[in-house]
Symmetry: C2
Amino acid sequence: MDVHEITPCCSPVLAEPLTETDAEELAAAFKVVADPVRLRLLSLIAQAGEICSCDLVAPIGKSQPTISHHMSVLADAGLVHREKRGKWAWYSVAPERLSVLRDALGGVPTPAGRHA
Amino acid sequence: MDVHEITPCCSPVLAEPLTETDAEELAAAFKVVADPVRLRLLSLIAQAGEICSCDLVAPIGKSQPTISHHMSVLADAGLVHREKRGKWAWYSVAPERLSVLRDALGGVPTPAGRHA
DNA sequence: AGTCAATATTGATGTTCGTCAATGTGACGA
DNA sequence: TCGTCACATTGACGAACATCAATATTGACT
């Protein structure tokens, strides 16, 4: 499956009416992140900058096929980059892709009062 | 790729290791938004400012119980406010809640220079 | 060649989730 | 009080998904 094309940038959920198709795509994109294992994988990869699958199985505590499956989901969604070097698969995050999701959640330029 | 502007420095997901519990919570939160019907509902409500259930069923094209179910999910997640007035239930969005999700995805509080 | 190590894929299983028909719960008006 | 309208809840069904054991594939090394 190629969930790759998620509408480049501008699907502010709160701004304009979502077509059924746009909603499907956006939902599919969020579904990728809506899993605890994948979130922890993203976290691990981000901190390492670059990491190989062999170092992902143990910290997560799931079987190797399960990790491989989740990494494929993340890679297919474009959230991580996969590079095979020798027998190892090295992963790194694709921040642009995360930004797409973030922007979809409220393209609102921050209500001007939210500074903290 | 034009990643020169990204600065993936400060997102909760990308910044510190997610505990298993934190990952569960975050995933649950994203799961709420990872549904096309709920996204369209959010979109409809946001544009109307305030809207009652009776005006949600037709545009979405699902049964009344289904809409009611999704609205409960959104309300339980705190993404919308529910106010019963007479027989009608009026809904409005809770933007703060969406911000939480957005921040989790790369919490840069809008760099103030990057406007679309 | 042959063997081992790392990762991907297959098949199967249990669970979660979206959906609807039917029914229940209040609220309003005659 | 009775009937109706708006919404919530229940129960059930099917599809999607996360997970693992087993197996396949690919790369490196001798």
